[in-house]
């Protein structure tokens, strides 16, 4: 019996960029950050006429269609954890139901999440992909509208729990990708976990609002430079 409903912006039956293997991904509506570089700004408001109200059963119906081609599902957003009671119910159902139990459950999060929420989610969550916009607090506030204190706490907490699948760095030229910034970031991440898996997501202007829509995108040389700095700083698992 489903008690909760949730507001879903969209879903993809297959995704290759939201966790290990082929996955179904659900984008929830609503975010607690307001990132300049957000490429899905329509998912930020807590309500949207374009969003759909789904029950757990609605999600499972989509999952059934994608099986047996997927190894799991990923919830993304918006910020999926805002709807954590729904996620707990959905993931619990997946873990308990024989039909779905082979699937892994992953969360793509901005990390602005209270420890109590992680505590509720982790028993039924296999991994989290967490975005880190900046280690520097002032820059983080500039880029997202919020402090990064909870984000950094989340990274520590999830790493200690063995549930941090990867940390994702959204890098935009001359915003947060200087050699110095990348070295500081790498140092901080490796201090949490020397074997941290780090993924670079280069900024794309497509879909963003002004002023980010006018930001430059990294060329190939810049991308190579970003990678090189992180590798030299000791990141071993760089995707």
């Amino acid at each position: 019996m489903s008690h909760h409903q949730s507001l879903v912006s969209d879903f993809l039956p297959f995704t290759w960029v939201d966790g290990p293997g082929n996955r179904l991904v659900i984008f929830f509506q609503g975010c607690n950050f307001d990132c300049l570089a957000c490429h899905n700004p329509q998912t930020i408001p807590l309500q949207s006429v374009a969003a759909h109200t789904w029950t757990v059963e609605d999600v499972l119906q989509r999952v059934r269609t994608s099986m047996p081609f997927i190894r799991g599902i990923t919830v993304s957003g918006g910020e999926a954890t805002l709807q954590w009671p729904f996620l707990v119910e959905l993931f619990t159902r997946i873990k308990q139901d024989e039909e779905f139990a082979h699937l892994t459950t992953f969360i793509d999060s901005n990390g602005h999440v209270e420890p109590a929420v992680w505590e509720a989610l982790l028993p039924v969550t296999d991994g989290v992909m967490l975005d880190l916009k900046a280690v520097d607090g002032t820059l983080h506030t500039e880029l997202t509208g919020h402090s990064n204190a909870l984000v950094l706490d989340s990274i520590r907490y999830l790493a200690a729990a063995g549930k941090l699948y990867e940390t994702r760095l959204m890098l935009a030229p001359d915003r947060n990708d200087s050699d110095e910034q990348l070295r500081t970031t790498a140092q901080w991440l490796l201090g949490v976990d020397p074997l941290m898996r780090v993924k670079i997501n280069h900024f794309h202007a497509h879909g963003t609002r002004s002023p980010a829509s006018n930001w430059a995108e990294a060329d190939e040389a810049r991308r190579q430079r970003n990678r090189q700095v992180l590798l030299e700083a000791g990141v071993q698992y760089l995707c």
Partner: protein, 513 residues
């Protein structure tokens, strides 16, 4: 069409052929001086109208189209004809195989099957042979295959269990980037490891090979000893296919005057019967007139036997047939995009499967006196008609829908069905996703699975590879199949597909290949 003298002179004067390619063309022209095997007036008219098609195999079949010798047996017991004793070590096995290949015919003039090379060679690769030695010996062998049998239809298979030889072969594929051999990997749900699949998928990223085939389904339909040869042709080892004739479903619908039910009730069965007549006439000529099975060393030495042979009944143009029949019913839905159109497509393939299963054919003991159904992936002359049961190029739906639509056809086509999926470069960062999709496809009863990446030098035509850099070198090319590929690139839409790449071909009447 009968050969005209000026065609012979033109072939002799042609500068784009190598000597060997010229011989092959001249042999085709000589064969076509004869009349085709006799047909009744209706079958002859259907052939003339290209509703049914003989794949331009030639007017007087004198070798079976696809031949799958039992090389394991030949290595074990040697060959009287070739004066070879049993192979006792890896060097002998490799030499004996090359000698045998050069004595194995097929429709292309080259062998279409090299054996399941990993399992063939494993008994000769003991602990005394270290990895470096194995790599060096296999590398020379691999180069020999490409240079001695320069035809992309020459095909090897890899067995389901990961092993040293398979690993070395995949490594060589990534190093050498050759057109030959074509490769299929037999994927078993439990025996084939993720590690093996990932190795193979990374090889596809480099050079577009191997294909992946559903070992469970193949064994169910063909028995334990089977292989995929040429491109997407799954047949019995120790046997093969006498011939491949095909029915153009688009032309069948265009030739039909009446409603949809009448097409199913009368026109389709009639055209299936005419295709059967064409096949029977060609098979009889091969067996009774050319005496292939009485004279071939392969049959004499038990490496092939007539009772493991059958023939292939091909269909193509399903997409156009569905869309035309939908139009006739006043419906606008199209194949791959509409539930009703898809349901109609399954009605067509299941009806044909039943008709073909009941169609008696001579010398087809390999399938209890019947043909194997085949989803024919096209030839380079096909215009305005889609290969086999594929969704037309450029109008493929999203991947999940694509897989769901085509996989339901696969179980009907025991002798192969090709649907080529084109993935973008994102796959390279997540090859595990491809593992998931292959396993899902085979759990959904898909039979053959092929994918391509846009970024490598290889372009896949029907199921065989052509190097983009070789196409640029035309008119002179070392691989016979490159010419066929060039025809396909011009005649279909190979180069302008959005995401998933598909094309057609197998034989061209001009080149006689």
């Amino acid at each position: 069409m009968r050969t005209r003298p000026e065609e012979v002179l033109a072939a002799i004067r042609e500068q784009k052929y190598t000597y060997r390619q010229k011989l092959q063309v001249l042999a085709g022209l000589a064969e076509n001086l004869l009349d085709e095997p006799a047909l009744g007036p209706e079958a002859a008219a259907a052939l003339e109208a290209r509703i049914i098609c003989d794949m331009y195999e030639g007017h007087a079949p004198y070798r079976a189209r696809y031949i799958l010798p039992d090389y394991a047996l030949a290595l074990r017991k040697g060959s009287d004809f070739l004066e070879l004793p049993p192979a006792t070590d890896l060097d002998e096995a490799l030499a004996h195989l090359l000698i045998m290949y050069s004595n194995v015919p097929s429709i292309t003039g080259f062998p279409v099957y090299f054996g399941d090379l990993d399992s063939l060679l494993l008994p000769y690769v003991g602990p005394a042979i270290d990895d470096e030695t194995l790599h060096r010996k296999l590398r020379l062998f691999w180069i020999s295959l490409d240079r001695m049998f320069p035809d992309a239809f020459a095909h090897t298979n890899l067995s389901p269990v990961y092993n040293r030889v398979a690993r070395t072969i995949l490594q060589l594929e990534r190093e050498l980037l050759q057109v030959v051999p074509n490769i299929s990997l037999k994927v078993h749900p439990t025996l084939t490891s993720d590690e093996y699949l990932l190795d193979a998928i990374n090889t596809v990223f480099a050079n577009g090979k191997p294909h992946f085939i559903n070992d469970d389904l193949m064994q169910h339909d063909l028995g334990e000893h089977y292989a995929a040869v040429s491109c997407y042709n799954s047949l019995k080892v120790g046997g093969g296919s006498h011939t491949l004739s095909r029915l153009n479903l688009k032309q069948s619908v265009l030739a039909h005057h009446g409603d949809v039910d009448a097409w199913f009730a009368s026109t389709l069965p009639h055209h299936v019967e005419l295709t059967g007549e064409l096949m029977a006439s060609r098979i009889r000529f091969l067996v009774e007139e050319s005496h292939f099975f009485d004279s071939s060393w392969l049959a004499r030495e038990g490496l092939i036997s007539l009772d493991r042979f059958s023939a292939m009944f091909g269909i193509f143009g399903l997409a156009e047939a569905v869309n035309l029949l939908m139009e006739r019913s006043g419906r606008s839905g199209t194949y791959g995009h509409d539930e009703e159109a898809d349901a109609l497509s399954y009605r067509i393939t299941s009806s044909i499967a039943q008709l073909v299963a009941e169609l008696p054919l001579p010398y087809c003991a390999g399938n209890n006196g019947h043909a194997f159904l085949h989803s024919q992936s096209g030839i380079d002359l096909d215009l305005d008609v889609t290969a086999g049961t594929r969704i037309p190029i450029g109008s493929e739906p999203p991947l999940l829908r694509h897989l769901q639509t085509v996989s339901r056809h696969h179980r009907f086509f025991q002798s192969g069905v090709s649907d080529i999926l084109h993935f973008d470069d994102m796959a390279v960062r997540n090859p595990e996703a491809i593992v998931d999709i292959i396993r899902g496809a085979f759990a959904s009863q898909m039979r053959d699975f092929t994918f391509n990446l846009n970024s490598n030098d290889f372009i896949r035509i029907t199921g065989y590879m052509v190097r983009k850099s070789d196409l640029a070198k035309l008119p002179a090319a070392r691989h016979s199949s490159t010419f066929l590929g060039a025809g396909s690139v011009e005649n279909s839409h190979v180069t302008d597909r959005a995401l998933k790449r598909v094309v057609s071909h197998e034989s061209s009447p001009v080149a006689g290949l």
